[in-house]
Amino acid sequence: MSKGFANNRMSLLAMGVITCFMAVGVRLVFLQVVDREELLRFVDKARRQIVVEQARRGTILDTRGNLLATSRSEITVAVDAWSLDEYLQIERNPAKRAGKAAVEKAKHAQLAVLLGLPVDAVEQAFTPAMRDIKPEDDKRDGKVDGRTKDRWVKLREAVDEPTYDRIVDLNIRGITSERVYRRVYPGGGLAAHVIGYLNKEGTPVSGAEQHLDLYLKGQDGWIESEKDGARRELAQFRSREVAVQDGNDVVLTIDSVVQHIIEEELRILGEKFSPNFATIIATDPMTGAILGMANYPSFDLNHYSKAPLEAQRNYAVTDRIEPGSTFKIVAAGAALNEGIVTPFSSFDCGIQTIDYKGRTIKLPKEDEPFGVISVADIVAHSSNRGAAQLAMMLGEQRFYDYARRYGFGETTDFPLGGEVRGTLAPPARWDGLTISRMPMGHSVDATPLQIHMAMSAVANGGVLLRPQIIKEVRDPAGRVIRTFAPERRNQVLRPGTAALLAQLLTGVVREGTGKGFDIPGFEIAGKTGTTQKIINGRYSTQHHVASFVGFFPASRPEVVLSVIVDDAHVPGGTAYGSKVAAPAFHHIAEQLVQYLEIKPVTPTPATRSFLAMQGGVQ
């Protein structure tokens, strides 16, 4: 072989390689430059995807960390029948194809059992079908005929994770799914009016769910990425990523056990008296923290759609009632605070009329006849005429100012909203009788929570507080990011006056209208109320609002408790606060003393110690 031939071969090889490279280069130029835009559009359409990551909504917890509301993932299972069809069509051998189809059919029967559906319904879903589509959108299958392959036939919603795992294990061709978060309320109806709920669309409708949505909802994240032929994400082609931010957890001041105790009592009240509505509120007097707030009727948060609208109302803040005798704390507290009376000052409550500012005013009726009694007795026995005379000593303006200071005529700034303002007309709009009727709780109305917070002011040394329902907010990692301190609204009474009034209120259960509902050693202080309801513009003798609002122990208050029952049906009698509300108050207070480990302020009777030593009474 000559050298020249070798050189020629090498040159030819080199030319060939270079030509090939040039051909590749030219093709690349066409692909990357000439046809670039068109090809990019095609690739983008086929491969690009934006995956939205749903933020997990924060949980709602009670003050002890028990779950009140949480989010649970559920799966919507659907079928892409065309996917199965395409899988079977790939197989050319008819026998093998039939075998594969038989295997899939057997799996469909298992799927039907897991989903609790008839086998026929599942088989129907796996039958390829077409659906109508707008002609302008019909470019998917190459034909513009207004028909396209139906690739999403829903089989079942709300499939739980364990069931879905079993479905995945079956490895069924054509099964697709979508994961969604659904709100669940482990307590069912526990604190239903406080927690509120999310509707089916995920929109918060009421309660903490609605008003604390800003903390709870979080922020969805998204990933811009590419997918392969099997529609799986190609993680290496992630181009942009916005991290999901889960919602914060909200800790409420509600205590599940306290809430349960009051809801149980409401259930008993409902069964016994079939009231129009009833509400019970328990708070910590020193902070205004709501330990429990419940209403009758109530509903199950997990089945909110079945509950009538009346059952979904938080009557504690949405409805106004005349406070009745519970309002007497205004006149008594104001008169003591102004120093114009002492607990021993006496008033003639047997008189029917009184001269006031040059006019003779008819005094309201009493439930029982009184003679000359002290201020302490006016409070304990709930004398209407006594309260009227105390208010007259104060005068219209001063009495009105005190009522305002107690928070009447305005909202309490309840953090979960929905609250209505009470009605308290200024003295300029009073008629001649108002000064004698308002002190007994007529001509004024307020929500149960407003009445409750007024009593709370007596319990905590004369300070009107804003009711607290949110204890703290925690981030998803459990770190506390915001706390809520007690909010002071007003100094209603001097601390000394408040303590004195608290002691006078212990007389109510010791010897007054609530006699017999004391708990020895725990100084129950409270006020009964029985208000005639206004029916067709007149005070009815048949329909009443019964209430008992109080706190304990009087000299070291730890709980303020209100029981308000609207239009209780008492067979053959009047729904007095002492008959309807006071027993419920007493029963709840007994349980709260145990649960909250409240220590007695006075020694318990020796007989009780003896009984307890012996193992208690049977």
């Binding site: 649970r72 190609l234 290496q236 708990i519 007994e590 349980q591 208690g616």
Partner: protein
């Protein structure tokens, strides 16, 4: 000095081209390997993310189930269904003590043990017609 023959230059050029091609090919293969590694790592990372999300979902599921099982109403139902007869004490059944509950119970137990033992010793002695002496029982709680 004679210039190198033309074919020698061509040979060198070809050899250099081949070397360049080999180098470029190696670079290309390296890049492909590198991308493959990136892809595998990304997919592993995605898989771990999915696992983590899955575990969190299951944790939420379990937490919700636990919360539903321990809510006061469910516990009361269990109490009834299992006929446990558990009930909160009534106020009249409660005896509050100021100091340590353990010491209080120990002294109460000592009192009972002492009384029982004294009684049995006295009975035995009486039956044997002998005198008896006191013995002390100590709390073993500390």
């Amino acid at each position: 000095m004679r210039p190198p023959p033309a074919h020698s230059l061509v040979n060198r050029l070809i050899a250099l081209t081949l070397l360049l091609l080999m180098f470029a090919g190696s670079l290309g293969l390296g890049a492909v390997w590198f991308r493959q590694e990136i892809s595998q790592t990304a997919n592993r990372s995605r898989s771990l993310e999915h696992k983590l999300a899955d575990i969190e979902r299951r944790l939420d599921e379990v937490n919700a189930q636990v919360a539903a099982a321990v809510n006061p109403d469910a516990l009361l139902r269990q109490n009834e269904a299992m006929r446990l007869g558990l009930a909160a004490p009534r106020e009249i059944q409660v005896w509050r003590i100021a100091g340590s509950a353990e010491l209080h119970l120990a002294s109460k137990r000592n009192l009972e043990a002492f009384r029982d033992e004294a009684f049995s010793v006295a009975a035995a002695s009486a039956s044997a017609g002998k005198d008896f002496s006191f013995r002390f029982a100590n709390a073993s709680l500390r």
